[in-house]
Symmetry: C2
Subunit: 524 residues, 2 copies
C-alpha cells in the first residue's frame, strides 16, 4: 500500500479539499511528501452517514466474526511491513526498536480483544427466569445483555502513533464492542495514519463488513474533531491528548441535545514516592532506574514520572546527586513534533524562572529540535504554595519535592489532582508508612505500583489505564486492557420475549456459548 | 421512633435553622405537624466532612459486614411498623396496599444488595500473575479490583416515597458499594423521610460504623441540593425526578473542578406499540390492561405508558373505544402533591388546547386535589410536526398516535428521544414486523417488553431501569436491580504489590472467597 494523502471514507479514498496537512520529519522539520487533504464538513457528514447505516448490521455480527475481523486487521498491519516503520520513524523521531515494539503491542491489543469477544463475558448476559407461581405477583421472564453504544469518534494521539492511534486501543475496543469507528488522525503522523487506515479498510473488505464500519479523516485544525463530537450520530468519544483538548471535547459532548460519554485520557504527572528506608538502602539504584524511566522515549509517555516526593535528608540528597549524575550522560532526544518540543522548552523555562526551584541537573544538549532532560527540586511549602509547579511538563522533566516529614508528604499527596499512576519505593521497614499512605493513593490514582515506574503499561485483563480527573474524564474506565471494551457498551433488558426473537446471547439454548448469569449466578 | 422535624447529621439530630418545610396532607392540602427545619450550608458542610472522614473506614469494611448493615437497615425499617405507613399515606395520598408493597420492595432491595455483597462478583477481582521468564520483557504482577467511588449525594423522589427515596435503590447500592450517603429528602414526604433516616442511622449505630456513613438533610428550596452536588467531597450523585432538575444537576457536576458522574433518572413517555394482528385479535383485552397500567397509582410512575403507536384502522378504533369505555369507570385519584396535580392539569389543558388532538375519553372527575385520567389521539403527521405533543405529562394521561402505515410508525419511533421502556403487543403473525422494529427499539430504550406494560419494575439481576438520554443521564447504567451498584465503583490496579499489602479480594489465598479472574478466566 502506498501513501496517497487521501481520506478514507468507508471504502472510498477521497481527496480532502479543506486545506493541507504536511507531515514533518521530526528530526529536521522538513516536509515529507505527499500533502494530505483536510476533510470538509461534507466528507464528515458522509462518514457519519455511513457509520450510522452500518451500525445495525455491524453490532449484531457474531462475536467470533468480529474477533476474526480484528485478527485480520492485525495481519494487515503486519503486512504493511517495513515501510510503515520507516515512515513512522521519520514522522515521529522515535527509534526503530520502539516502533517495532509498539507495532507488536498494537497487534497484541487487537488480538486481546479478539479473545475477549470469543470469551463472551463482555456481553454480561443475564437471565432471570419467569416465576409464574410467585405470590403476590408472578414474576415475568427478564433477560439482559450489553449492546454496542453506537458509532464512536476516536482521536489519534501524538505520542503513540500506532498503539493509541488509528488502530489503537480505542479503535480496537470500540470495534470489538460492535461500534463503527471514525478516526480523526493526529496531524503529526498522517502517513502512518493513512497506512494503518488502509489496513483496517482492507480488513473491512476482507471480512465483507458494511463499509461504514471505518473511516479516517484528516484536518489541519479543530473543526472536524469538534463537529464530529457534536454530530448526533456519534454516541461516544475516545481521546488521548492534552487536558485542554480533552476538556473542550467533554464540554461539546455535554452540551449536545443528547449528551454522550467522552473517554479522554489527559493529564498526569505520575508521582513517585520514595520512602525513608528504601532511600537509605538503595538511593543510587532507584536513581538509575528513575532516570531511565524519566528519559525513555524522550519522556513522552502519559505515565512519565514528573514528580518525586520524599522526606528531605541525606538519603534524598544522595538520590538527587545520583540522579543528576546519571542524567548528565543522557543524550538529547528528538521529540515527536516541533510544537511538543517548544512546549517542553517553555515548561522547562517556566520552572527555571521560579526562584523557589533549584535545577539539580540536565541531560546532554542537542540539536535545535532535540530536547534536553532536566531534574528540579523544590520544598513542600513552595510546591503547595505555587500551583504552577503542579502543571504537567510533557517530556523528560521531573520535580523533586523535599518534604520536612511524612505528614507534609501526605499533605502534598492529598493536594494533587487525579493521576494515572503513583509509584512507591519501599523497603520492608517502610511497610507501616506505606499502609498509612495507601488510602490516599487509592483515591488519587488508577494504578498503584511498588518499586517500579508507571512507564510500561501492560495490555492485559488487570490493567487500569485511567484515574480520577484530570487523568481521565471518567474514572470508572480504562483505555488500556480488556476492560476498555466496557466503555462502548450499554445494557438492554428484554422482558417476556418470544424465544425466537431473543438475541442469541440470551437464548436458552445459548448458540454462542457465552457465559450466562441465571438469577445472578453464572451457569456452567 | 417519633418524627421530630430535625436533620440527621451523622448520629446527631439537629434542628435545621434555614426556613421551614411543612408536610401537606395530599388529600386535603392541610399542613401536618411538625414543621421541618431546613439545613443551613453549615449543616451541609458538617455532613460532608463526616462523610469524607467516614469514607476510608467504611469502604474497606468486609462485604459481608456491609451486607449485615443493609439487612439491619431493612429490619429497622420494618420495625418502624404501621406509623411509617400511616404517615406515608397522609403525605403522599397513596393507598395502604401500595405503600406496604413498596415497603416490601424497599426491604427487598436492601436484601438484594446484601446478596450482591456476599457473592463478591461486584469487586471484579482480576489477577494477571507475573511472568518473570517472558521475553523480551518480563511481565509484572498486576491485580485489579473495584473500590467505592466516594461519598454520594442522593435525592429522594416524590413518586416512590420509600423505594426511590431515603433508603431506596440509590442509597442501597451506594452503601453496598462502600460509599457514605447524604440524602437530600424530597419535601413532599419529610415525615416518611425522617423515619426512614432514623432507621438507617440506627443501623449505623447497631453495626458500629462511623457516623458519617449516613446523613439526611431537608431544604425548602434548591440551594442545599445544588451545593451538595458542587461540594468537592461528593463523588457521585443519584437522582430520580424531573428532566429540568436532573439536567441542572448534570450541569453543576460537569462544571466542577473535578467533574463527577450524575445518575439522573428523568423523563420517559414509555411508548406502547400495538401491532396489527395483536390489535385485530385482542383490541379489547389490551385496552383493559392498558387502562389499568395507565391509571395505576394515578399514573405517577416513570414507566407510565404515555404514548401509544399503531397503524390506523378499524382495529385501532376498536381499541380506542374500549379504552375510553374502561377509562370512564376509573375513579379520580389523589396525586402526590398539589404541585404535581397542578402540573398534570396544565399538561392536560395543553393537549386539549391543540386543535390536532382529539380527546377520546376521561376518567371520573373528583375532588379539587384529585386528578382525572385522560386519553387523547392525534395523527402521526401532527405528532411529528408538534414537539409539544412529545413532552411527558406526568400522571394518568396518554396519547394515541394514529399512523397511516408501518413506515410512518417506524418514523415516529425514530424521532422519539430515549426511553426507559418500550412495550410491543404482537400476535404470532406480527413477528416479522416486530423483528424489523427491534433494532430501533434497542436504540431507543433500556427495557423492551412484549405483551405487557413497563409499570412493575422487577428488582433482580437482569433489570435495566435506565435508557438513552433523557430517560437517564447515563445510558450505561441502571437505577434498579443488582447492576445499580456499578455506578458507585471505580477500578484500581495494584502492580507488583507485596502480598501483605494487597487488598483481601486480590490476595492469592482469597480470604473473602470472592470470584477472581486469573489472566481473564474465572478461577473456581
Amino acid at each position: 500500500m502506498s501513501i496517497t494523502g487521501q481520506l478514507q471514507i468507508g471504502q472510498s479514498q477521497v481527496p480532502g479539499k479543506n486545506g493541507e496537512i504536511l507531515a514533518l520529519d521530526a528530526a529536521t522539520g522538513a516536509a515529507l511528501p505527499p500533502a494530505f487533504g483536510g476533510a470538509t464538513l461534507g466528507d464528515l457528514d458522509v462518514a457519519c452517514a455511513l457509520a450510522d447505516s452500518a451500525f445495525d448490521l455491524y453490532r449484531v455480527t457474531r462475536p467470533q466474526d468480529r474477533a476474526h475481523f480484528l485478527e485480520t486487521i492485525a495481519l494487515n498491519i503486519l503486512a504493511l511491513g517495513d515501510p510503515l516503520i520507516e515512515r513512522c520513524m521519520r514522522e515521529t523521531g522515535l527509534p526503530r526498536s520502539r516502533l517495532e515494539g509498539e507495532r507488536g503491542r498494537t497487534v497484541g491489543q487487537l488480538r486481546l480483544f479478539a479473545a475477549v469477544l470469543r470469551d463472551g463475558t463482555f456481553l454480561d448476559a443475564r437471565i432471570d427466569p419467569a416465576q409464574p407461581e410467585r405470590t403476590p405477583l408472578p414474576r415475568v421472564d427478564l433477560r439482559l445483555q450489553r449492546i454496542a453504544i453506537g458509532p464512536v469518534a476516536v482521536f489519534g494521539a501524538s505520542n503513540f502513533p500506532l498503539a493509541f492511534s488509528v488502530a489503537g486501543g480505542d479503535t480496537a475496543s470500540a470495534l470489538a464492542a460492535g461500534c463503527p469507528v471514525i478516526v480523526k488522525a493526529h496531524s503529526a503522523h498522517p502517513g502512518t495514519s493513512e497506512l494503518v487506515g488502509q489496513a483496517i479498510a482492507q480488513g473491512v473488505r476482507d471480512c465483507k463488513l458494511p463499509e461504514g464500519v471505518f473511516s479516517l479523516l484528516f484536518d489541519s485544525g479543530r473543526t472536524v474533531g469538534q463537529t464530529l463530537v457534536a454530530d448526533r450520530r456519534i454516541k461516544a468519544v475516545g481521546f488521548t491528548g492534552s487536558r485542554s483538548g480533552g476538556v473542550a471535547l467533554m464540554n461539546i459532548a455535554a452540551a449536545r441535545e443528547e449528551p454522550i460519554p467522552v473517554y479522554a485520557e489527559m493529564s498526569s504527572i505520575n508521582p513517585v514516592v520514595l520512602l525513608p528506608h528504601a532511600l537509605s538502602t538503595r538511593a543510587e539504584a532507584i536513581a538509575a532506574d528513575f532516570v531511565a524511566a524519566l528519559t525513555l522515549g524522550a519522556g513522552q509517555f502519559c505515565t512519565n514520572p514528573g514528580l518525586v516526593l520524599a522526606v528531605d535528608g541525606a538519603p534524598l540528597r544522595e538520590f538527587e546527586r545520583a540522579a543528576a549524575q546519571a542524567l548528565a550522560d543522557v543524550p538529547a532526544a528528538t521529540m515527536l513534533t516541533p510544537g511538543i518540543n517548544q512546549s517542553y522548552r517553555s515548561g522547562i523555562a517556566r520552572l527555571k524562572a521560579q526562584s523557589t526551584v533549584e535545577t539539580l541537573g540536565t541531560g546532554q544538549a542537542g540539536e535545535p529540535l532535540q530536547a534536553q532532560a532536566a531534574l528540579f527540586a523544590t520544598s513542600a511549602a513552595d510546591f503547595l504554595g505555587q500551583p504552577v509547579l503542579r502543571e504537567e511538563v510533557f517530556g523528560a522533566a521531573s520535580l523533586i519535592v523535599r518534604c520536612p516529614d511524612e505528614t507534609a508528604l501526605l499533605k502534598v499527596l492529598e493536594t494533587l489532582e487525579g493521576q494515572l499512576t503513583i509509584a512507591v519505593h519501599a523497603a520492608a521497614q517502610d511497610r507501616f508508612t506505606l499502609g498509612a499512605l495507601l488510602p490516599t493513593l487509592e483515591k488519587k490514582a488508577g494504578r498503584l505500583l511498588l518499586d517500579g515506574f508507571g512507564t510500561g503499561v501492560e495490555v492485559g485483563h488487570a490493567m487500569l489505564h485511567g484515574g480520577p480527573f484530570p487523568a481521565t474524564s471518567d474514572t470508572r474506565t480504562t483505555s488500556v486492557g480488556s476492560l476498555a471494551i466496557e466503555r462502548f457498551l450499554r445494557p438492554v433488558a428484554y422482558q417476556n420475549f418470544l424465544p425466537e426473537l431473543l438475541p442469541p446471547a440470551l437464548a436458552d439454548h445459548n448458540p454462542w456459548a457465552v457465559p450466562q448469569r441465571i438469577d445472578g449466578t453464572l451457569a456452567r
